[in-house]
């Protein structure tokens, strides 16, 4: 018990430090960011938001030669037009060798790393009890093991002395807490939210948090609307824009969030507040 309390005290001291302030009076913004799965959708919105705030960004996507690469190149061009550096670091996060290369290339091109955003995800859409062994293993390989590979490979580059300027942000979803038809990814999101809590305790000088998005109209929504009955009837005002999630990610990477550790912040326009809604 004493050890437990002592640990808490350490963390409290760390979190109440006054953040560094830049010479122009604004908060220090992370400068070197890697976002996994960022060729489009939420990942792309996060990459763009960081670039707008003055960061250089490494854009990761899984498959080379397809439309993801095309999207990634367009995003990189947009970021470069803002005067920021953007590099492409393709690779499948479920493969350890691939992850090593992603981080070595990103850190080398950006000159280090301040923020890792774990956004990449891939999953079949079918009820859990019908998943084949191959699908089940792929689900865990990408969405759990792959994310932890990324954390492990990022750590050497995320060294910090202040504890305020290095961040890992995991992008979760409401599927971690609520049932969704044919959405086994939710169970992986729940596991990763637990990983976020663990890491926030063990990585004292890196702030680890998660952002859980509600219904977001990205490409993934094209999948959801085919598998979740009635999703089209949900009022438009309850749909979150990818930029709203990106804004919270940026907040969690700012000194203003220094007191937040190991938390999952829900960004769903209140969708999950009510059990029942009038149509």
């Amino acid at each position: 018990m004493l050890k437990f309390l002592s640990g808490l005290n350490d963390m409290d001291t760390q979190n109440t430090d006054t953040p560094d302030i830049t010479s122009n009076g604004g908060p220090i913004c992370p400068r070197k960011v890697l976002v996994t799965g960022s060729s489009r959708g939420i990942g792309a919105a996060i990459a763009l938001a960081f670039a707008k705030s003055g960061a250089d960004v490494a854009i990761n996507f899984s498959k080379q030669g397809g439309r993801s690469e095309e999207h990634a190149k367009n995003l990189a061009a947009e970021i470069e037009s803002m005067g920021q550096k953007a590099i492409l670091v393709p690779g499948d996060i479920s493969q350890k060798d691939s992850v090593k290369k992603i981080f070595a290339d990103a850190a080398s091109a950006l000159g280090g790393l301040d923020v890792l955003v774990l956004n990449a995800a891939r999953a079949p859409f079918k009820p859990i009890e019908r998943l084949l062994e191959r699908e089940l293993r792929a689900l865990v390989d990408t969405n759990y093991i792959g994310n932890i590979f990324c954390v492990q490979e990022a750590l050497p580059y995320l060294t910090s002395t202040t504890g305020h300027d290095k961040h890992i942000i995991f992008i979760s979803s409401l599927g971690s807490r609520f049932y969704n038809q044919s959405y086994p990814l939710g169970s992986m999101k729940a596991a990763m939210e637990a990983v976020v809590r663990d890491l926030s305790e063990t990585l004292k000088n890196i702030a680890v948090n998660a952002v859980s998005g509600g219904l977001v109209k990205t490409d993934s929504f094209k999948v959801l609307r085919q598998f979740i009955d009635g999703i089209e009837r949900i009022p438009e005002k309850l749909f979150v824009m990818p930029e709203e999630i990106a804004d919270v990610v940026l907040f969690l990477c700012s000194p203003a969030s220094r007191g937040i550790r190991g938390q999952t912040i829900v960004v769903d326009r209140g969708l999950s507040n009510c059990l029942h809604r009038n149509a």
Binding site: K63, R67, E133, R134, D219, K222, Q226
Partner: protein, 192 residues
């Protein structure tokens, strides 16, 4: 019955339109035998988007899962894809029967046991996908299930409704059709 209301050409044209919108390309560049992956650059999410557009257009429900997934669900894991992610003989035999009319002969030659399963989506063409849509539309019943009259008409060219009671046509969904076809073909050919 269905062809008198919605022609095969109309199905192909609507599919080309859906693919062009999803992939943001000029519809004129899409040929009936264009591979959605190889020639048009589609990815897995794009297929779902095209499916969605087609569902809205014809008021049907496309298959959510590929035939390979149905083979494994029906006959057991490993019956269609081996532990290295390659097609089994059984999967190839079944797919050859299914794709015989829908895919160009030269493309069908690539379908061999041991083929990488990731190479399969490249075999999907506008023609083969249109075939799946037509299969669903062909399940239009003779009579309206609501009023039992045989009075189908098209509404907005692509949606079939009952002239008598206004009910929308009720088709079988794509996944059920694949499962039915698989069971029937397996019973007929006894493929091992």
């Amino acid at each position: 019955m269905r062809q008198a209301l919605i022609s095969d050409d109309m199905v192909i044209d609507e599919l080309k339109k859906a693919a062009a919108e999803t992939l943001a390309i000029d519809v004129a560049t899409i040929k009936t035998d264009s591979s959605l992956v190889k020639d048009l650059g589609a990815e897995s999410l794009d297929f779902l988007d095209i499916n969605y557009r087609i569902e809205q257009t014809f008021s049907i429900k496309m298959a959510r899962h590929f035939i390979i997934e149905h083979i494994e669900e029906m006959f057991g894991e490993g019956t269609a894809i081996d532990s290295d992610g390659r097609l089994t003989e059984k999967a190839v035999k079944l797919m050859r029967i299914r794709l015989d009319a829908a895919v160009e002969g030269s493309a069908l030659e690539a379908l061999k046991p041991g083929m990488d399963m990731d190479a399969l989506p490249a075999m999907i063409t506008i023609r083969s996908m249109a075939g799946s849509i037509m299969d669903i539309l062909d399940t239009l019943p003779e009579n309206c299930p609501e009023c039992d009259k045989s009075a189908w008409k098209t509404d907005n060219d692509t949606r079939i409704v009952c002239r008598e009671c206004g009910a929308e046509a009720d088709y079988k969904n794509g996944d059920d059709l694949i499962k039915e076809w698989l069971q029937k073909t397996q019973d007929e050919h006894k493929i091992v």
